[in-house]
């Protein structure tokens, strides 16, 4: 697939600069810049520009100013009238799933749900909130329309708000 990627540089997701994701790991200066992150960041920015089509998610906790490490996320696809669970992932130290939610053959057009278990996340953090909290299970529903383009889904959430968007 990699060769196929390189043959189509005009397509958004195949820009050669996207190889920086892999190249960055080889450059000591970049690695060093990522090390002394403040308390809010588990690591430096991760660049996805130019990588192959995929769906990736990044969850950030605006209450603590940190990656939402440990957040449980149920990822489902709309099948008929209901969402069918594909798998459950836990946000890693950077607030992402270790693997893309969808990639390669699994990256199919359709309607998907990313369900955030923010109630148990903030309970584990010891946040003092009403019972039940304003936000418990937050469903973020997105549509993959064009599988030639990747979708990055950043989600910022706190106990009283959330924002999501098409990222990069």
């Amino acid at each position: 697939m990699a060769n196929d990627d390189l043959l189509q540089p005009a397509r958004r997701q195949f820009a050669l600069s996207g190889l920086a994701l892999g190249a960055a790991a080889l450059l000591p200066s970049v690695a060093a810049a990522q090390t002394p992150a403040g308390p809010a960041q588990a690591s430096g920015p991760i660049v996805l520009h130019g990588v192959s089509p995929r769906l990736t998610v990044h969850a950030l906790d605006t209450f603590h100013g940190s990656a939402a490490t440990g957040l449980r996320i149920d990822f489902s696809k709309l099948e008929g009238e209901s969402y069918k669970l594909i798998r459950t992932v836990t946000a890693n130290a950077n607030g992402r799933s270790d693997e893309p939610l969808l990639i390669g053959e699994s990256y199919q057009a359709g309607d998907y749900e990313v369900l955030l278990h923010v109630d148990e996340y903030f309970a584990a953090k010891g946040a003092k909130l009403p019972a039940p909290p304003f936000l418990s299970k937050v469903p973020v529903r997105i549509r993959v329309a064009n599988i030639a383009e990747r979708i990055h889904l950043p989600i910022q959430f706190g106990p009283w708000s959330y924002t999501y968007s098409r990222g990069s």
């Binding site: 039940p132 064009n146 959330y162 924002t163």
Partner: protein, 111 residues
């Protein structure tokens, strides 16, 4: 004031989003129970509270914003945006706005 109100703003124009279909469901039931279905007025609000004060009660609710029908963007990120939240104190007012574009959605407990 008690109950639930909302306000929809289009961040691509900086204006209220008028004519957007919104539904309110009770999601404590299976399947969810439709409580109200309406459209936003020229100010981006509903003419009457989507859950009137007389019906205020604790529970699990979900607003659904039909943004796809409005924006009609082929690559729009979401079609129907659900916002699921709890009323934990029926004596309080729950204002739940939606700031949106075809690729950005933000909600919060407002006032």
């Amino acid at each position: 004031m008690t109950g639930i109100t909302t306000h929809v703003l289009d961040i691509t124009t900086g204006r209220p989003l008028s004519g957007l279909q919104i539904e309110l469901y009770d999601v404590a039931t299976e399947p969810p129970t439709l409580l109200n279905k309406t459209r936003t007025n020229p100010d981006g609000r509903t003419d009457t509270p989507i859950l009137p004060a007389a019906s205020a009660r604790t529970g699990q609710f979900e607003l659904r914003f039909h943004v796809g029908d409005h924006f009609k963007a082929a690559d729009g990120l979401s079609d129907v945006v659900p916002v699921r939240f709890a009323i934990f104190d029926a004596a309080q007012h729950y204002h739940v706005p939606m700031l949106c574009s075809p690729w950005f959605f933000s909600t919060y407990r407002g006032s």
